[in-house]
């Protein structure tokens, strides 16, 4: 006569239960693959009228992969896998050495570690997106600063992107660093190693990685002061004046206007690309003088506060993603074990097929 514990244990390690749970997970995933996810209640009521939308919303099928139902099935599957692995492994270990088959154990163990890593990733992963122009810097999670030294964008003749690459240096706390985020920094910081970040080749640092996420160009305004010195401002950036500042807010109707190239190279360290697109006629600025703020529109050649609006330049901007993921080593270990286990379990069948 089996005890209650034995009955529960047998049920939890059962292959039948595993197979049924796999089918359930597949069916829920199909629901997640067919039903649009994360839409509003109104969307489901409109596209799945009547009982359809009620079932979707009641079962959480509008967000299947984080729904209670999916997580519950996945949790039972995890328990089933764990108990099954334990049962099988102890059984195999009791056999003579030559007769043991550990492929399924390694595969199942890999899946358990993978699930643990996945949960850890879901709960602890952070991603910060930073946009940097040449010479700009941003703070990193460990207090270091990243400075964009250079960025390179290449296209194929048909206009598709060929490569995006950012050359950066990392200023540690002990090393001299720029004073604030998004402020100009020396373009050739002495003594610090330069790192190349490109798509598919992230920069791995202790505790986080930096990925080349995007690349784009933005129009900047070039302003010239009374001395004839010019400098550029990106949208949202300000230039100091004697009595306040001038802030470049936005382009005014970018679809209008003819090209107005900047007459001189700006004083910043960047080397902007030459503009080839039609440029907007005017830009919108926020001016602060003696504490009084006004919004003004100016076209190239016109004055804006103490400056002359000299024209536009195209400035390249590198989009970098700073990702911290504590689940990384577990997921990686899980992958190795799954591959090892699945091949150990099944690849011998190839001999049966082609022998």
């Amino acid at each position: 006569m089996k005890s209650s514990f034995d009955k529960v244990y047998d049920a939890l390690r059962s292959i039948k239960l595993a197979a049924v749970l796999l089918v359930l997970l597949a069916l829920l995933s199909i629901a997640g693959g067919i039903i649009p996810q994360g839409k509003t209640t109104g969307f489901y009521q409109l596209h799945f009228p009547g009982a359809g939308s009620r079932i979707i919303l009641a079962l959480g099928l509008d967000h299947v992969f984080s729904s209670l139902l999916f997580l519950l099935v996945a949790a039972v599957f995890a328990v089933n896998l764990t108990v099954c692995t334990f049962h099988r492994l102890t059984g195999e270990l009791s056999k003579p050495r030559g007769k043991r088959r550990h492929g399924p154990d390694i595969l199942h163990l890999g899946l358990i570690i993978l699930m643990f890593g996945g949960i850890l990733t879901a709960r602890t992963r952070t991603e910060t997106l930073i946009n940097l122009r040449r010479g700009e810097s941003a703070d990193l999670p460990d207090g270091a600063k990243i400075v964009l030294v250079d960025l390179n964008y290449e296209q194929y003749p048909d206009g598709r992107p060929k490569s995006w690459e950012s050359t950066v240096v990392i200023h540690r706390v002990s090393a001299p660093a720029p004073s604030a985020a998004n402020t100009p920094a020396p373009s050739t910081p002495g003594g610090l190693p330069q790192y190349l970040i490109k798509v598919n080749a992230p920069l791995r640092l202790k505790g986080y990685s930096i990925y080349q996420q995007s690349w784009h160009t933005e129009k900047q305004v070039v302003l010239k002061d009374a001395m004839g010195m010019s400098f550029s401002l990106a949208p949202g950036m300000r230039g100091a004046t004697k009595d306040g500042f001038v802030l470049f807010m936005a382009l005014d109707n970018p679809s209008l206007g003819a090209a107005v190239p900047a007459s001189s190279t700006p004083a910043t360290s960047s080397a902007p690309a030459a503009s080839s697109d039609p440029l907007p006629q005017s830009a919108i600025f926020l001016l602060e003088e003696h504490g009084k703020r006004t919004v003004s529109k100016a076209a190239p050649g016109q004055g804006i506060g103490p400056f002359t609006f000299d024209g536009y330049i195209d400035q390249s901007v590198s989009g970098l993603a700073v990702v911290s993921d504590r689940g990384y080593p577990f997921v990686a270990a899980g992958f190795i074990l799954v591959i090892l286990g699945v091949f150990m379990t099944y690849i011998r069948k190839l001999k049966g097929m082609l022998a």
Binding site: I15, K16, A18, A19, L22, V23, L25, A26, S29, I30, G32, G33, Q37, F65, G118, T121, R125, E127, Y156, D158, R160, P161, K162, S163, W164, K198, V199, N200, A201, P202, S209, Y211, Q212, Q213, A321, V323, V331, F335, V338, I339, V342, F343, T345, Y346, I347, K349, L350, G352, M353, L354, A355
Partner: protein, 261 residues
């Protein structure tokens, strides 16, 4: 041009196989396996030619993927005949040849532009090559399992049914680890390196997982169900249908990170 010749060879192979299928007397079809081999080699040459042109492994578009699938399926058809895995059964190589012909017919359709294009930055990865090639090689074995599972479900002869069951299982058991490594693991590693995230529930990822879950369920059900069960081979048929939907349907119906595939 090379792919067209390969297509012609497979059509010729198909015609010869049809003749032998309807032949009442026995007789060995010695020509069609070699036609399959020739077609497979030609398609491999086409992949190499395109790879040289773009200086990267040519596996980054729909046309190239279909060529790759048809190439390895043609080579597997030859291997099945050469190693006598199908034990003289003519229907399995025939069914697999039909599917290879369908792949090539789709490759010549407007759905799969054959223009040679070098890859965009996200696709310039060795992990992508492993991801795609392993996934498709796994699916080539699933194709044989699919044909065998249909025969398993339709035959009334118990001996044949068991023979088909063995072949279905062996095909899935060989394809499964290759598919697991390619579709799920190498794919996740590539995604992590390219976008910094292992898994994002992108439609292609979700449907690849559904394919994997279906074949995993098959392998488990087969351990516990009787060989007369119809559910077990039905799962292989469903699994192959999902694999094909993952490849074609998701591309055209559900856009995501894999929209270039």
């Amino acid at each position: 041009m090379i792919a067209t010749i390969a297509f012609g060879l497979l059509i010729l192979s198909l015609i010869i196989q049809i003749v032998y299928l309807f032949k009442k007397e026995g007789g060995q079809d010695v020509i069609s396996p070699w036609l399959s081999l020739a077609a497979g080699i030609l398609l491999l040459v086409e992949i190499v030619r395109r790879s040289i042109a773009i200086r990267f492994v040519a596996l980054t578009g729909m046309f190239e993927s279909l060529i790759f699938l048809a190439c390895f399926l043609a080579l597997l058809i030859f291997a099945l005949r050469y190693f006598k895995t199908t034990k003289g059964n003519r229907v399995i190589p025939f069914g697999a040849t039909i599917i290879a012909v369908i792949f090539l017919a789709l490759a010549s359709s407007p759905l799969a532009p054959s223009e040679i294009k070098p890859p965009v930055p996200a696709l310039q990865s060795g992990w992508l090559v492993l991801h795609v090639s392993f996934t498709f090689i796994g699916e080539v074995f699933f194709t044989v399992g699919f044909v065998s599972a249909i025969l398993q479900l339709t035959t009334k002869n118990e001996e044949k049914r068991q023979s088909y069951d063995r072949l279905t299982y062996t095909s899935v058991a060989v394809g499964y680890p290759i598919f697991t490594a390619g579709a799920l693991i190498f794919g996740a590693i590539w995604a992590e390196k390219a976008w910094g995230v292992w898994w994002s529930w992108d439609p292609k990822e979700t449907w690849a997982l559904i394919t994997w879950l279906t074949y995993t369920a098959y392998l488990h059900f087969r351990l516990v169900r009787k060989s007369t069960s119809n559910l077990v081979p039905a799962l292989v048929i469903v699994g192959f249908a999902i694999a094909m939907f993952t490849f074609f349907g998701v591309n055209f119906l559900l856009r995501g990170l894999h929209s270039y595939a």
